[in-house]
Symmetry: C2
Subunit: 325 residues, 2 copies
């Protein structure tokens, strides 16, 4: 059977790393790619950053691989997460041997709530002086995330998870989040503890090995996972998966990198690792492991792009990864 | 003239570090301390974590020095910030020679909006499933912060400031914040740039010298300054000032440290540095500089507490600081 995967390169280095990730996927499974457009360039041309066709493709495919969008990032990625019905954003942040990291012992996975919080989209301009945003937290979304988290940590690799929140200030909303997640964890006999998100920010710098899987509201997950990116050596390495009930969307955590876009020197790692997450999601576990292992091998002593201190092009680094498969 | 300063030791190590900060202040100015209660212990006894007398004292004194509160921290510190009419929370995060820091080159100051954002206190339970929080942003509070920031960066030490926000998602509210701050900066010919708060979290780890003074909404300031604490070696070193129009409240960024409370081994540095900020605020600039210099000297090669790798008691470390004055 040929797998059909939607790919949306987007803008900037998205256009350079997505073709490389496609080559990697093609070398391990039988696949047909369906190309779709989104981002600044499309908006320039058509007036809309996310064409309806692209939304519809993502909303009906099993899996979509997205690159990056520029100024229009929020207009593209938030509706796309919605298109796949994603309730969780999985963000591993792991340091690799051979890559300069501020905390080489970092090995974390963030499970970020992906539908609500301050991302609910309800804002009002109430007067010339005052605007409000309605931050939404539901028990149902929190429970869906928690159920996923319980499943995620089952097995020997993980010993439960930590909830990062700010329920000492957002008592009703983050209190609801915390209580819902704790109660699902208890029902499933999954060990759970909690930490305030500000304290997490300090403690993860001092010793990232204190944490393993972190479950958090939407904005907390956004900021804390980017912090973890800083500990492992930058955004060039971090993949992510937006998982829904029936489909999912995979994307590097980095953006369009306008400073280096067009030069063929972007680091393809984050997108290739996102493709590995996609392979696992689609059931190609062996192939996914092979890609992860190949990336790890190349990061440890293969050719690498400039951001990692090497001088390989995007294509050369990908070739090395493919050679290891 | 004798300066009158309100002191609120609070709980845990608050009770150990405040007396030491008092000794330091007494050794440089003529001062009378007015003691007040707040925190878990008071709540246990009286049913309220922040007695009206304490609130009233803070609301009428020129300066208040606060230690820490335990479980009741939010019930104490948020009303106290309100009592002094504080619109800005100043949080320097600086690495010291002689102290183990993840990024020894860190030297940042956060100017955190101190009255609104998700701290507005408006939360509602709308159904069994759904709760909301109303995040409030006003132009007036943003402008007050911006005016303070412009004043703060005037002089040779700083070259403008950076706004950290999440206006790509919170377009109306953080958009209002960003626009108000930018326009005050422009009026005052103060150089200003901006960064998304998630990108800041990555970038400050990779190279903290990219930033200097960071102006941000309330929760962003909370989390990003705690992140900076992780880069300089922990919360034991970070002072803060909550400044209002007519009065101010000074507090270490750390909490009650229940694991070491009662043993006389807490690091007094953050509270002594907070006292130095207080001295400066009250107009004792020479004395403030002297305290800062003494702290720096002791951190560089004097006796230190266990969290800094030494074995001095809280009192011994303070003695050393006083000896340097
Ligand atoms: C572009 C932006 C809307 C997005 C977010 O905040 O989720 C990005 O920062 C991310 O984390 O994928
Ligand atoms: C205790 C809590 C309410 C407080 C805050 O969030 O402001 C604390 O984290 C701080 O930063 O002083």
């Amino acid at each position: 059977m040929t797998e059909e995967i939607v790919v949306i390169p987007g803008d900037g280095i998205g256009k350079e790393v997505i073709p490389e990730a496609k080559r990697v996927v093609e070398s391990v499974i039988d696949v047909t790619f369906i190309e779709a457009d989104a981002g600044d360039a499309v908006k320039e041309e058509t007036g809309t950053a996310l064409p309806q066709e692209t939304y519809d493709l993502a909303a009906s495919a099993d899996a979509t691989l997205f690159g990056a969008a520029g100024e229009t990032a929020a207009d593209v990625i938030l509706p796309l997460r919605d298109a796949v019905g994603s309730f969780v954003n999985i963000r591993p942040a792991k340091a690799y041997p051979g890559v300069d990291a501020l905390r080489p012992e970092t090995d974390l996975v963030f499970l970020r709530e992906n539908t609500e919080g301050v991302y609910s989209g309800h804002e009002d301009r109430l007067s010339d002086d005052l605007s409000t945003l309605t931050r939404v937290v539901t028990t149902s979304a929190s429970e869906a995330l928690a159920a996923f988290a319980c499943d995620y940590v089952s097995g020997e690799e993980h010993d439960g998870f930590t909830i990062a929140h700010k329920a000492n200030v957002m008592r009703e909303t983050d209190g609801r989040f915390r209580d819902a997640v704790v109660s699902v964890a208890k029902e499933n006999d999954v060990p759970v503890d909690e930490v305030l998100m500000d304290a997490f920010a300090t403690r993860v710098c001092l010793d990232p090995t204190q944490f393993d899987v972190i479950v958090c509201p939407n904005l907390a997950g956004d900021v804390l996972s980017d912090l973890a990116a800083g500990l492992v050596g930058g955004l060039g390495l971090l993949p992510s998966a937006n998982v829904g009930t029936d489909r999912a969307l995979f994307e590097p955590v980095h953006g369009t990198a306008p400073d280096i876009a067009g030069n063929g020197i972007a680091n393809p790692t984050a997108t290739i690792l996102s493709a590995a997450m996609m392979l696992e999601y689609l059931g190609y576990e062996t192939e996914s492991n092979a890609v992860n292992d190949a990336v790890e091998a190349v990061l440890s002593d293969g050719p690498r792009t400039g951001d990692l201190g090497g001088n390989a092009t995007t294509t050369e680094m990908t070739d090395a990864i493919i050679n290891h498969l």
